[in-house]
């Protein structure tokens, strides 16, 4: 491939027109967007771009992380984006490379994570001919992207790149895919990046109406039993601080969604933790009993609302939300405040009266005391149960000075993590909430660690999900990343087994799962590892993991048939929940049905 005449990509980013190949334009655009790390996997249709990458890698301007499966490139970009708050980038080839991305893109889009995906496409003259490794990537990914592009003309490439980052970042974040034909990568054209973005149909930051804020304040000020339901939007808008001020000024308890975990410190007396399907009974009762529910940056997902027509039936609902389309989608609020929480919350705060709501808070404390600590951490000391492991993990990470990031996979362990780990701030937990993608944790942990090599990153995965993406252990080693891995190994696709136990008469079809010897597996990748079978070993092994420089894997061989409680059955109202068995009740092989 003949390289074009060009100016070296100056560090000062000369904004004047430059002559570049399409391939170079990709990297030049990434540099101008502040991207230093990309996650990818090469192949024929993206080869020109990889060839051009050589120069950018050579002088350290861009680092490419070679993934072992393209799904993981998207998850890594996602983990990177969640940990930094900025766009994560992945780059793969056409056809199978691009279709492998889809799960990762859908995962990021569902959770409003900014990701830009670059895919190679067959040359323009072969488009539509079922050429080798051709697939309709724009068609396939359209439903799981905020927006996507097919680039068939080099003249469009710079603007498309700029728009892609703009759309991914601005407003409610999301996924933008840019599919670039191979001949466009090879051709030479004029590169500039000083465009004004002009997208009349894109309204990322709707302006809030002051009247709506006032109406919301009036409702809240009159309330005797107010409750805040805080979602991912608080973290995305970086308004945890304002939320805490509001909560303390007006004495309002807070329930969070899974992605809103840690929006206010979970040790705060007004924090009720997570609500919904596996939320604590008192959190869900609070939702059902409140008279004004202020939902902030959340979308009334079915996992949080349970049966919709019985959700918060006594409450007037106020919905603070950036994405207009989320307002009225599942729940029609009494007052909607559409706009950026970073603007609406500060406008709201001074209009809120100082209150204590003592009676309401006392009621909640009483409900909370019915679920006492013994009930929550129902340890059976002789047997290793997951809640204990998680609580000990929290104790172990609590002591570190480092920034702690916990990345969970999907299943029972994910719910136990959200229940028993105590999150001190938003953004501590990265998890696939909307799509619920098994296999997410390991690659996302890797992406998060790439963004912050000094952070203490724990990947907490089940034996099922871990086996979906464990090939990335090689990537961890190749990148020399100190990711710590906890496998909650219960011999089952545990969450599905739990449903089979409760709703399908305990017929365990397709859920018993064999694992390899994880210590040997880790050894094969030259990763130190340990197995834990007894509660007494947990603390010392976690210590060992923390003392070890570099990665460490722990195979927690936990008791098999333990269930996640409380549980709201799908279709039930959130207060019709299956409570935790009383202390002393032994979950497990006994086959005894819980007391509900």
């Amino acid at each position: 491939m003949a390289l074009a005449k060009r100016e070296p990509a100056a560090s000062g980013y000369d904004l004047g027109p430059l002559e570049f190949t399409g391939s170079q334009m990709i990297w030049e655009a990434l540099l101008r967007e502040g991207v230093k790390i990309v996650f990818g996997h090469p192949g024929g249709a993206i080869l020109p771009a990889y060839d051009a990458l050589a120069e950018y890698e050579a002088d350290g301007r861009i680092h490419h992380v070679l993934v072992r499966h393209e799904q993981c490139a998207a998850h890594m970009a996602d983990g990177f984006a969640r940990a930094t708050g900025d766009v994560g980038v992945c780059i793969v080839t056409s056809g199978p490379g691009a279709t492998n991305l889809v799960t990762g893109l859908a995962t990021a889009q569902m959770d409003s994570v900014p990701v830009v995906a670059i895919t190679g496409q067959v040359p323009t003259n072969l488009l539509g001919t079922d050429a080798f490794q051709e697939s309709d990537v724009v068609g396939v990914t359209q439903p799981v992207c905020k927006h996507n592009y097919l680039v068939t003309d080099i003249a469009e490439l710079p603007l498309v790149m700029k728009e892609a980052f703009y759309i991914a970042r601005e407003g409610r974040p999301g996924v933008v895919l840019v599919d670039i034909c191979k001949d466009v990568q090879i051709e030479t054209g004029i590169f500039r990046y000083d465009f004004e973005i002009n997208l009349p149909g894109f309204e990322p930051w709707p302006e809030y109406s002051p009247e709506s804020v006032q109406a919301a304040a009036e409702l809240l000020n009159e309330s005797e039993r107010p409750l805040i339901l805080a979602g991912h939007g608080i973290h995305l808008s970086n308004t945890s601080e304002e939320l805490l001020q509001l909560v303390e000024k007006a004495g309002i308890p807070v329930v969070t969604t899974l992605l809103g975990t840690g929006n206010i410190p979970e040790t705060h007396p007004l924090s009720l933790g997570m609500g919904g399907m596996h939320g604590e009974a008192f959190a869900n009762r609070a939702v059902q009993a409140c008279d004004v529910l202020v939902a902030m940056g959340m979308r009334f997902d079915d996992r949080i609302t349970g049966r919709l027509d019985r959700f918060a039936a006594k409450a007037k609902i106020v919905h603070f939300e950036l994405d207009r389309a989320e307002v009225g989608k599942n729940i029609v609020p009494d007052v909607a405040v559409i706009g950026d929480l970073a603007e609406t919350l500060p406008a709201f705060l001074p209009q809120i009266k100082e209150r204590r709501h003592q009676e309401w808070v006392d009621t909640l404390s009483e409900w909370r005391s019915e679920t006492d600590e013994a009930d929550i951490i129902q340890f059976e000391v002789e047997e290793l149960i997951p809640p204990f492991v998680i609580r000990q993990l929290w104790h172990a990470t609590e002591q570190t000075e480092k920034r702690v990031i916990v990345v969970t996979d999907v299943g029972q362990h994910q719910m136990w993590e959200s229940q028993y780990y105590i999150h001190e701030h938003a953004g501590m937990l990265l998890t696939s909430g909307g799509l619920g993608t098994m296999g997410y944790a390991l690659p996302a942990a890797l992406g998060a660690q790439m963004s912050d090599p000094d952070a203490l990153v724990w990947c907490v995965a089940g034996d099922g999900g871990f086996q979906m993406t464990l090939q990335e252990l090689a990537t961890i080693q190749q990148e020399k990343l100190p990711v710590k891995i906890a496998i909650i190994n219960n011999g089952f696709l545990g969450m599905v087994r739990q449903w089979q136990q409760i709703f399908y008469d305990k017929r365990y079809v397709g859920t018993p799962i064999l694992s390899p010897d994880y210590v040997k597996l880790a050894e094969a990748y030259d990763i130190p590892a340990a197995v834990v079978r007894h509660p007494s070993e947990v603390v010392s092994v976690l210590e060992q993991a923390h003392k070890t420089d570099g990665p460490f894997l722990v195979d927690f061989q936990v008791k098999e048939e333990v269930n996640v409680y409380p549980m709201v059955a799908p279709g039930a109202a959130v207060d019709e929940l299956i409570r935790r068995p009383k202390p002393g009740y032994v979950q497990g092989y006994s086959g005894v049905q819980p007391s509900w």
């Binding site: 359209q142 439903p143 149909g201 709707p206 302006e207 109406s209 709506s212 909607a336 559409i338």
Partner: protein, 186 residues
Amino acid sequence: MQYTLVAWMRDKPGVLNRVSGMLRRRNFNIDSLQVSHSETPGISRMTFVVDGDERVADQVVKQLRKVVDVTAVEDITNRLAILRELALIRVRTTPATRGEIMQFAEIYRAQIVDVNAENLVVQAVGTEDKVDSLIELLRPFGIEEMVRTGRVALCRGDERPKRTKPATSIFKAAASLNGSGHGDPE
């Protein structure tokens, strides 16, 4: 009930697919969808007839607005608007029936645009109701082939949609869903 929505979008490859894909994915019930040029070069215009309640219509409007290439969306259901559809209907004829068919066409101010020994083509323009009832009248004679454009709509005089950015007014329960939900033009 039926809602009439008008959307304007950048005339780019795949836009129709983006819009129809979104409507399918979100399980909206669309009775008809019509695409054409608008008065502005580079901007296409779509007219949708949506079957559903107020909340469905509200969601369709909002989800359409989220499609990046869609530049504006307007719910003109409650505006004074000219609603029209064009139909071409090929009806079987015999020497005995031809006259009667032509009379019916005339009553409906439809035109005969093609005549053969065995059939003729009626071109009807009007509201869907009017086209429907003409079709019912013609059906007994034997309709051999038919095509309908689906609804197109244009607001009258002062009722012209303003196509400005939607307002972010407050949202008082379902009753005023239209007010803010649809984002009335400022």
